[in-house]
Amino acid sequence: MSAATNEDRSLGVTLLILLGGMVFGFGLALSGMAKPEIVLDFLQFDDLGLLFVMGGAAVVSGVVFFVATRFLDRAPLTGRAYTRRLKSMNRNVLAGGAIFGVGWGISGICPGAAYASVGIGNLPILWAVLGMFLGAYAQGYVRSYRADDADTSDTVPTD
């Protein structure tokens, strides 16, 4: 549970996150994921190209995580240790995955792709952005005032 330090707000960190976000968003647009039609083509088996998008991205991140956690010391701009993205398993992971999947299948849009879609000037996607915020608010409101939520504190503060 490394809480954010003041270093997280330094200009260098901010600029690097902006740069990384831009590369990430450029890739989403180039890959076609910013277009719901292309995602729906994949989910309906008309074009399996998205296998190369998620596969390519996961391979790159996998290699980088592997090398950094084994051979690199600490992140230069923050002093953070390099970790893998490991979340605890509970029923919410399954229920959330199922609900997300239904929503993705209906709309052809996921969070990062929706932001990228705004970037390519696709105004109707704002309906999806509004929907995502409403959904995030609804689940947060319900879970905040219910005692039996399965959520446990994660060891890796990411995502």
Binding site: I17, G21, G27, G62, G97, F100, C110, A116, A138, D159
Partner: protein, 165 residues
Amino acid sequence: MITTTLPLVAFAELFPRGIAQYAAGGLLIGLGVATIYLGTGIIAGASTFLESTLSYVSDVPRFNRTKYLASRDWRVVFTLGIVGGAAVYALAFGEFGWTTAVQPWRLLGGGFLVGVGTRLGKGCTSGHGVCGVGSLSQTSLVNVATFMAFAIGTAQIVAALGVSP
């Protein structure tokens, strides 16, 4: 030479737009994650932004957890970067202003479920699908298998009902 052309025909049917743009886009998505990770140690996902940003306007306890308050500023920067990077692509390749034909009710309703599901399930296509799978996290692999199965099933039903695009 039917034996050599058959696989090519099948390939063309599965990948009617080719694979170059898909693979290049995927590599860049991974490169964006890697850039932030190598410099800062931060593993950036796209869906936490939905909750951490709500803390600016909502007092609901879940959105005001320490880790969200600590990361909400850079998450806004990350999201603005995604918007900006996509805009650079669209302007450079003359695609700016492309508009989806998917109906607003599907974007709003599907988006609502995406908002619920990604936050309940601890991540989305980037957090679980790229970073979690890249970490060989069992939790992430289970989540990805689940959302893929449900997304494919749902999209097939939507298509079977004649909803188009």
